[in-house]
Amino acid sequence: MDHVEVRQWLTDALAGGVLPSVLDDLAAAPGSDAASPDPAADEVRAHLMACDACGAEAGALVTTGALLAAATPDDVLAPVAARERILRTVRETGMVRVPAAPTPAPVAVGVPAVPAVPAVPAVPAVSRLRRWRLVPALASFAMAAIIVGGLFTVANMGHQRDVAQAEVAALGELASASGHILARPDHAQLALVAADGTSMGMVVFSPSSGQLAVWSRDLVGMASGTRYDCFLVRGSSLTLIGWMDTAGDVAYWVGQSPAGVTLGHAGDRIVVQADVPGAAPVLSGTF
């Protein structure tokens, strides 16, 4: 591709409102799962790597797109086709909710359906083993949720109740998401260890669904008030997965893996580090 073709290709992506995603695809290694199947993308990538002018032009187009986006008019609507897909995804991956009982106990609200996890059939033996080892961890989250829920039942004080409710919901989200991941036949897990080799956390994920859960029960006490980021390290590239939320003494992240990234490649690392300049990883695990 020459300069003109590359710039037209990028300009068309900008006009279609997809330039950031296209650039993400270009950043993926050629031939990888995350790379674009469009053969033109390989040509554009090669051109950008060699051409200063077109690289700078791409940066200017990114800025142009951001400015256009900032002026998005109020008549822009969510895609109609997205509605059913999103609602279906929420139903399939969200926490299990059941109709409320006439006099629901507070601890029942938001507690995930952890017991449903062992009932999933037709899981390979190795997966059964992995899941069995994780059940105590999930049970501990559920227990923490019950304890926290019990706190506000007894204390019944406004602020404490709000905090407790939030923590119940957060722990419920973590346990529920982990349960969904573990119900996937292709699920896998990874231990997160500190620099001294001490096991301090865990990652569970499903390559097919892209769902990922990361948690540690030791981060919160290490540096109260510090926010932790979770990264995927692949070769020399670093991809932010997300910020760790906290609930009680659990720091966790739950959600989809970064767009265009398939987890579980040999040599990939998951690292967790404080969100401060120059911070070193406090937890890491290698696939």
Binding site: S21, E57, V62, T63, A66, A71, D74, L77
Partner: protein
């Protein structure tokens, strides 16, 4: 049989959702999805990623509905805060992804933070402006959006129409051609020309530090012409 969600308040629908009523989720989606999508698109400038943020926000609503307190904030504000946090997460990730290195390497700026900031300047700038609650930042964001709308207004109508249908309303070039009765090549030409004109106008308004410059190896006249080639324009 579930009661129709029509006429129920957000708080009532959230209470139903907590009780496991999936119809309430659909009703809340219909009520808030457009504003969430718009907010995410304004920050991210990418339709697919804005859809992802919308999905994550609805998932958070479903999973964390118990934490919503109607006495503290409206549901719309609560949802938009979640969406904004998710979008900013993505902007931060975008700044650290290898594409920034790829572009900065091509631009001869290696991997320093300044180069990354410059290359993602649009996303960082807009994200920060929209996120800050203080009046000065809000005014800055409003002014910026106004400047872009003014620049769009300065573009000839057919070109602006092509760009707006493509960028804001997600119509493909073929769909635009069918809707407006233009040849496909004309749609391409007018869309590219609209973007080229927009950059020229915005570069004048925002100045050289806005990151809209470029074209060192190809003269601006040649580049402008090249960007607008590729199809006939019935208006000429």
């Amino acid at each position: 049989m579930a009661m129709s969600p029509t006429g129920r308040t957000d708080a009532e629908l959230v209470a139903s959702l907590v009780a496991g009523d999936e119809d309430a989720l659909g009703a809340l989606y219909d009520r808030h999805a457009d504003s969430i999508f718009r907010a995410a698109f304004r920050l991210l400038g990418d339709r697919g990623q804005a859809e992802d943020v919308l999905q994550e926000t609805m998932l958070a609503l479903w999973n964390r509905a118990e934490t919503y307190d109607a006495s503290v904030a409206s549901l719309a504000a609560w949802l938009l805060t979640i969406a904004r946090n998710r979008a900013v997460d993505r902007l931060r990730a975008r700044a650290r992804r290898p594409v920034s290195m790829l572009l900065s390497a091509a631009a001869g700026a290696a991997t320093d933070d300044t180069a990354i900031d410059r290359l993602v300047a649009g996303g960082e700038l807009v994200g920060a402006a929209a996120a800050r609650p203080d009046p000065a930042s809000a005014a800055e964001a409003s002014w910026l959006a106004g400047a872009v709308r003014d620049a769009l207004a300065a573009i000839p109508d057919p070109e602006r129409q092509a760009l707006e249908l493509a960028y804001y309303h997600d119509l493909s070039q073929s769909e635009i051609a069918a809707r407006l009765g233009w040849p496909l090549g004309t749609v391409k030409t007018r869309t590219r020309r609209a973007l080229a004109r927009l950059r020229v106008v915005l570069a004048e308004v925002l100045g050289p530090d806005a990151g809209l410059r470029v074209l060192p190896s190809v003269s601006s006249v040649e580049a402008f012409g090249a960007l607008t080639q590729g199809g006939s324009d019935g208006s000429r």
